[in-house]
Assembly symmetry: C2
Homo-oligomer: 200 residues x 2
């Protein structure tokens, strides 16, 4: 039986980036299917009253240090984009368009976005900046850029955020399997143990 | 060469309890010495603007679920005290008094406090409630209760909190080794890897 694991993330989340990197090496086993679900945490924070990590005294500086340290441990490149925290609206809408074309290509596109933003520190906010990433994923770059302004994908992203809020997703990354939420890059060991053991 | 690992925690922190439980089974190796340092996170939150986890929508409910799940995985008992979140002033002052008598007994006392609060769900806010825990740790219960009102230990606890703030400790548990902070029960694997490898 195939098992679905939902992977909620914000394209502007450093820990989402690290989680995506770890998902390159670990896929949960042959029966596992990860469903990538970009959301905008800003919408969630309006409800929970949280602030972006970077804006919390002490915690913001710790996060910068910790993400770099975690990236070194994972062996992945890390570069904070100058425009952080940035709005990830375009990449998120584009993802849902890509997902309608081909879910595997959408994941490739998502990985490319994350690598561009946090592996290379580039600005991925403008729809035009996504063109080479669409190319890389084997997607039609012009159609992807157009989708960023398409009401259908505006609505799709809004619905994804609303659903995440309904399900009380409050951070990035959050994984959901068997109705269990696992919040945080640092809970991927728990997630792996849960998937492997069937829970406890 | 002996290595010191500082363990900052709040006696009213569920994840601090889990960390203390994990420290029962794992001590970082023969060269490691853990220095237990209770603090009051309320003082830190005034500066960082954070709210206690339990008061954050979504996150509070998740925490309740996650702590219970993590306790099951660790194989330790878990019971949320009815008075949570409670002020941990008495236990914290008593700890520093106990630490002056005998650091090993102070750790035994701290473990007893945590077990009483989160293993059994009991109220440990009143100095009198600490008497059996002092007994259990081999400490003078009457002297320990008196220390809770002693200006020396009021000042000692305040200084510990001030120092934690100076060092930008913002959550419980936080471990510090080699000048590196590791925040969170879920970062104890990172801490262990850091201690074992000497860092990366």
């Amino acid at each position: 039986m195939s098992r679905e694991v939902e992977f909620f993330f914000d394209f502007s989340s450093p820990y989402g980036y690290l989680a995506a990197c770890r998902l390159s090496a670990w896929q949960g086993g042959p029966d596992c299917r990860f469903l990538w679900r970009p959301i905008l945490l800003g919408a969630v924070f309006k409800i929970t009253g949280q602030k972006p990590l970077a804006m919390v005294p002490f915690k913001g500086d710790y996060m910068l240090h910790d993400v770099a340290r975690s990236a070194r441990r994972l062996g992945v490149s890390w570069q904070m984009p100058a425009n952080f925290p940035f709005p990830a609206v375009a990449a998120s809408r584009a993802f849902y368009w890509a997902d309608d074309q081909d879910p595997a290509k959408a994941v490739r596109f998502a990985r490319a976005c994350y690598r561009q933003a946090f592996g290379e520190g580039a600005d991925i906010t403008a729809p035009e900046s996504l063109a080479p990433l669409a190319d890389e994923a084997g997607l039609d770059a012009a159609a992807l850029a157009a989708a960023c302004q398409d009401q259908v994908y505006k609505d799709r992203l809004r619905a994804a955020c609303d659903q995440a809020i309904e399900r009380e997703i409050f951070g990035s990354p959050t994984f959901v399997v068997d109705g269990e939420r696992f919040w945080g890059f640092d809970r991927m060991d728990d997630l792996a143990a849960w998937i492997e053991s069937g829970g406890w």
